[in-house]
């Protein structure tokens, strides 16, 4: 018997979440990730203050689809002084669930970080997602959550069901929520 409020069985769902795509180009994630950064707009936009700009960046990330956003200050000597970290709700761990459904949080992350980086470049500041770092460590440093014994991020909003997108490195003046690990 099925109650009216319960979902009918979906025989295709597990494959949608778990099964690797037949061809990698059937997912657009690789294409977005590999796309070269656009150029920086020649005229810099006025920044009221790092505090205000940080609020705007977090609001923009939320509008684009990010669950939670934090900012870290990168170690001295880094090419960019700040990193923007966005986390997304992920019912299934994208590291395990390789199907289209399992990779949906990754796609959300790519959409947000691509556009965040592009907007910052169009504001006249440098921004890139091409620098590979341990995004989960950065998320913990930005105060998005804490690391459990397995090194996984646990957030107040999503618990362990969370995906951290690539970090946006930038020289846009921001007010950091924490210090990035060296």
């Amino acid at each position: 018997m099925r109650f009216p409020w319960t979902r009918e069985a979906d025989p295709y769902w597990d494959a949608f979440i778990q099964r690797d795509p037949f061809h990698p180009d059937n997912q657009v994630n690789n294409a977005i990730r590999a796309w070269p950064d656009g150029s920086v707009f020649p005229v810099k936009k006025d920044v009221h203050s790092p505090d205000v700009m940080s609020g705007h960046i977090k609001e923009l990330a939320r509008f684009l689809g990010a669950g939670i956003t934090g900012i870290v200050r990168l170690p001295e000597g880094s090419e960019h002084p700040f990193g923007i970290v966005c986390a997304f709700q992920a019912e299934d761990d994208p590291a395990q669930a390789r199907g289209h459904g399992g990779q949906a949080p990754v796609q959300n992350g790519l959409f947000v970080t691509f556009n965040l980086g592009a907007v910052i470049r169009e504001m006249g500041y440098r921004a890139t997602t091409k620098i590979l770092v341990d995004a989960v460590q950065f998320a913990a440093a930005a105060g998005l959550g804490r690391l459990d014994g397995d090194g996984r991020l646990v957030t107040a909003q999503f618990g362990r069901k969370v995906h951290v997108a690539d970090v946006v490195h930038t020289d846009l003046p921001l007010a950091p929520d924490g210090e990035a690990p060296a």
């Binding site: 037949f22 997912q27 796309w35 150029s39 509008f63 289209h100």
Partner: protein, 435 residues
Amino acid sequence: MALSIEPETPRKSSSVEFPIPDLGRTARIVGRVGNVDPQQLPHPQNMRGELGKALFNWMHSTISPDPLARVAFERHAADKNNVIRTTLMKAPKGQISPERVPVDDPAAMTRHIKRVARHLGADVIRIARSHPSFMYGGNPTDGLTTMGGDRPDGTPEDLVRRFPFVIVASKAWDYKLMQAHRHHIGDAAYDFTLERGNLLHSSIAGYVQDLGYHVLRGAMNPQAAALAAGAGELGRNGLIISEKFGPRIHLTDVIMTDLPLLPDKPIDLGVEDFCKVCRKCAVTCPTNSISFEGKQTYNGVEKYKIKWETCYKLRPYTVQYWAQCLTCATVCPYTKPNTWWRDLAIKSLQLTPIPLRPVVVRGLKWLDDRFWGTLPNKRVRWLDYDSGIKPGEKACTVAGCTASHGESQTTQAAGGSIGYYFPLKENTNRFTNRV
């Protein structure tokens, strides 16, 4: 936007194999329907310079002063590598899996595809049965309605036989931001949702290919498919008015497929009855592009028809201040937050017998004018944008800020809840007179 262009060759709309499709109460096929050549759509016409110098320059030589618009709207980008649409258009197309997933129960597959689309971010997802009269009469090559896909050879009938079902998926614009119509804030709501929708379509199409089935994009008029699928009804403003979001949805593309699905049916939201009485979009349209009159029969379809030429020709004059007008979508009484009282209003209209609906419509219209205004002009503050500041003027938008900002931003934005709108209506008779 609703764009009705000269059809290529009129065709018989009905046959034994392809009976006249039901498009609901707001649009009806009454004659021979020609397949519209996508090269005659406004953007391709403009790209060829057929709409005049001002519009040609607007499309080819204008960089938006707004950083968000330069990212979200490729026409006015400074560098197209900063626009995700460029990525999606140039992404490799993927391949169809040779191991086709068997579909014993199309109803189960339909439920699955709808669940998949919602999981990937769709706000509206419906299925239609393909029909030759929905097809474009050529291959769009400008990349606006297709993501680089080439249309296979064959007549519209052949293609409909090969791809008998249509997946209609859409994203809704942010309600709060679109209140700032004729403003960069409204542009952001519109354009980023458009990009998100493009990503959604690419994802669904890729998944269907993984199931072992073919997809075809950019080959069909999305509005016709949306009506047949029951994604909404066609309003006086030429927009598809959806059940949950009103006209604030994007219909950039649909996905034709041979995946066995169960088509939905057209819906009745009372748009037919509402648009007869309301006319709010026609009253407020800054270019007088929306008719006060009844429906027209155009290309064999009886429907409300807007004058796209005048709607389009405003753009070069306003590009410094906004890219998309959006007034007709914002003022539509169906554009409301997705709340229980909105559902209640629509349900009450649906449950009212059709002859009595004008009475209910007048009551709902009165409520709409009373609480949202005859021309909604709510002030929206978002990021460092403020629709209460006259475009072109600079003022600090940070609440409580008393700092001196030098010459560039000299004043603190004034209080109040009313947005600033150019008195366009009085100045745009030129758009009516020239067409």
